[in-house]
């Protein structure tokens, strides 16, 4: 498969670009909701429009009422989300939760997917149990209880957790914290008794929850996939999420870079456009090169995942690590090259820096993934 978009994908990219640039723009969404201190951190009206555009269920199979598209297509939408800093549950609901639910039984899919596709409900995923991403360790416990399970433990950094009607929770049904086996995924409804959210606003003005499960009773049909065999589904979900996060990061990097390059073409100091100074030109050109490379490897990872290649896992980590490095560079250079104005809240470049910081941590930072690349490469 050639490493560029085919005609359909180009069309999707144009549609997503226009939609996110208008409806999902920084002014209309991020600033709008932030300035109103919105408790959700995103607009439900826009989410409905996502559904009308056919974005919400794009990863869901056609037999379940979705569009049966792949990661490449989801990434196209995510890149535009990143570029416009559009707050939405697309990544958590339509990529992560959808990927997990695809592995569910007919009952599970029938119960949750229609509302996901219609945009009536949003879902979240609960994986991490500390301040850093460590999905290898799952301590949160789900013990057998009657026909179902009793869930006890804590989860952190559940993005849009408090706004979600259902949360996919990775819990331990046997073995000990670091075991690969013994993990099970559950679809936990928001109104489950014994679940409490401590919802906090993050630096990028999105919302995330610390969740406590205090003996939450779950039916047997809350299980997604196999009991004790959830690791495989979890990994599939993580892979899609990591590649998706990389795509959003590419969008953030491109958005920040474009703003910066535009700015240095207009700003005058010392009687010249500052874009004439080679000290800035070379840094901008270096940044451009890095952004192109980060984008290439993200498309590559998505293609490998869609193609069912065993290299997808490695490339997911390469993409996540590379994008984290590059998007970080893009936002730092962006603020610096804007000079004082870049430090102001009124100007958008700082918003890119904030979003990048949150994306860096989501599903593993560059150090976590570089380490994974080393391990998967045998050293």
């Amino acid at each position: 498969m050639p490493l560029y978009y085919d005609d359909d994908q180009v069309m999707l990219a144009e549609t997503a670009n226009q939609f996110m640039g208008e409806e999902g723009s920084i002014k209309n969404q991020l600033r709008h909701w932030r300035d109103r201190n919105c408790k959700d951190g995103f607009g439900h009206g826009l989410w409905k429009q996502f559904a009308e555009m056919g974005f919400t269920g794009m990863l869901v199979g056609e037999e379940d009422g979705g569009l049966g598209m792949g990661q490449v297509e989801a990434n196209i939408v995510l890149e535009e989300i990143g570029r416009n800093l559009t707050p939405s549950p697309f990544l958590s609901s339509s990529v992560l939760a959808a990927t997990a639910l695809k592995h569910g039984s007919n009952d599970v899919r029938g119960r949750w997917l229609p509302d996901l596709i219609s945009g009536d409900k949003v879902y979240a995923v609960a994986i991490d149990e500390g301040v850093k991403h460590r999905p290898e360790r799952i301590a949160c416990k789900a013990e057998k209880s009657g026909n179902g399970f009793r869930l006890t433990g804590k989860k952190d950094f559940v993005v849009y957790g408090a706004s979600s009607e259902m949360i996919v929770v990775a819990a331990r049904t046997s073995g000990s914290d670091g075991d690969a086996d013994g993990v099970t995924l559950f679809a936990v409804p928001q109104d489950a008794a014994g679940m409490s959210h401590d919802s906090v606003r993050l630096v990028d003005s999105s919302m995330a929850s610390h969740i406590t499960f205090d003996g939450v009773e779950l039916d047997g049909d809350a299980v997604i996939g196999e009991v004790d065999g959830g690791r495989e589904v979890l990994n599939a979900m993580l892979m899609a999420g990591r590649i998706g996060t990389a795509a959003e990061g590419v969008g953030v990097a491109r958005g920040a870079m474009d703003m910066t390059v535009d700015y240095i073409k207009q700003r005058k100091q010392f009687g010249k456009l500052i874009g004439e100074f080679q000290a800035l030109q070379h840094r901008a050109a270096h940044l451009y090169s890095e952004v192109e490379i980060a984008r290439a490897v993200t498309i590559k990872a998505a293609q490998l995942l869609d193609g069912g290649s065993e290299k997808a896992d490695l490339m997911a980590s390469v993409a996540k690590a590379k994008v984290a490095k590059v998007a970080g560079l893009a936002v730092r250079e962006g603020v610096q090259m804007h000079g004082g104005i870049g430090m102001t809240d009124e100007y958008d470049i700082g918003l890119y820096m904030k979003r990048d910081r949150a994306l860096q941590e989501f599903l593993g930072d560059q150090y976590y993934h570089a380490n994974r690349v080393a391990e998967l490469s045998g050293y």
Binding site: L3, E292, A319, S377
Partner: protein
Amino acid sequence: MSDSDLDAFRAETRAWLEANCPPEMREPVRDEDDVYWGGRNAKFKNDAQKAWFEACVAKGYTVPAWPKEYGGAGLSPAEAKVLREEMSRIGARPPLSSFGIWMLGPALLHFGTEGQKQRFLNEIARGEIRWCQGYSEPGSGSDLVSLQTYGEDKGDHWVVNGQKIWTSYADKADWIFCLVRTDKENKYQGITFMLYDMASAGVSTKPILLISGSSPFCETFFDDVKVPKSYGEDVPAYVGQVNRGWDVAKYLLGHEREMISGADGGDRTSAIGAAMLRLSGELDPVLRAELAQFDVDALAYAAMGEKFLDEIKVGKAHPAQPNMMKYAGTELNKRRHELMMAAGGTRALEWDSEETGGGKPSRNWLRTKANSIEGGTSEVMLNVISKRILDLPGA
């Protein structure tokens, strides 16, 4: 072309490679004489090298994407990619390396007359003539257009005087493609892209020893060299038009940069951490972390290389993109060799031991320092990206 046609082509290619690529030609290139450059005085290192070369010439696989009438195999971009993938899968060496293939050939395909194509492209494809590149001069490196080598118009020929520098393999080359000033008044539109025989009277070369201890480079002197304006009907001695050689030179530099970038570099872009671990037995955790970061960058760059080649074949790449590939690829390659020296420890310092194949690690390390200089420096690449891609202001 449909997927099933491509699958058939892949199967066919695989079978052909199996039958024609000798096992010895599937080993990594270790020495300079593992590389076959062709030319009037070329010698094959062994029978395997000869057999592989001849099989490829017969099939058009020294220049697979060139049209058949010029010695190529006429492969479509998709087929060429399949061939590349299949060759890299078995680690097949390139059958022929040459500046003719990488640089002059593409320029001739674009600017050449039919007569030039018939003659020179076929010679290049069959490895008959080895070319060198006469661009740089002592006073004209990055500022190439300031070059002074002068060709005085004598009607049916020029008389060329001047000096070139850094001419790679000038002493082994049969012919030179050379930038010569033919109009002193016009800076950009006063340069002619000439082709002539290095055996012509008045051409002499002097080697330049590099810090790596080897010397494939030369100073090249032209002392009243007589260059005819034509080598026969429809075979002018210059490419493009007289005084408009700068256009050709720039076009060719794009291909040179693409080549140096290592976009298509096979194992140059594969992960090195594991290899380093084997070499030194144990990795310092800080070095391991740097290797991991390097592997992230190298694997990402490999994807970029693939994307770049895919896009360039269908005209989707920005015309200045080779500059970005050259910049990123060469900086990465230098970093690779810094890390390999660090992982190799004291063994990598050995300059002439048998264990190191005569100081390969340190000599290669030093040689790579030229990657970000030759074919245009990294700083010049960044200038080009700034201006031509980012459209930043200033001359």
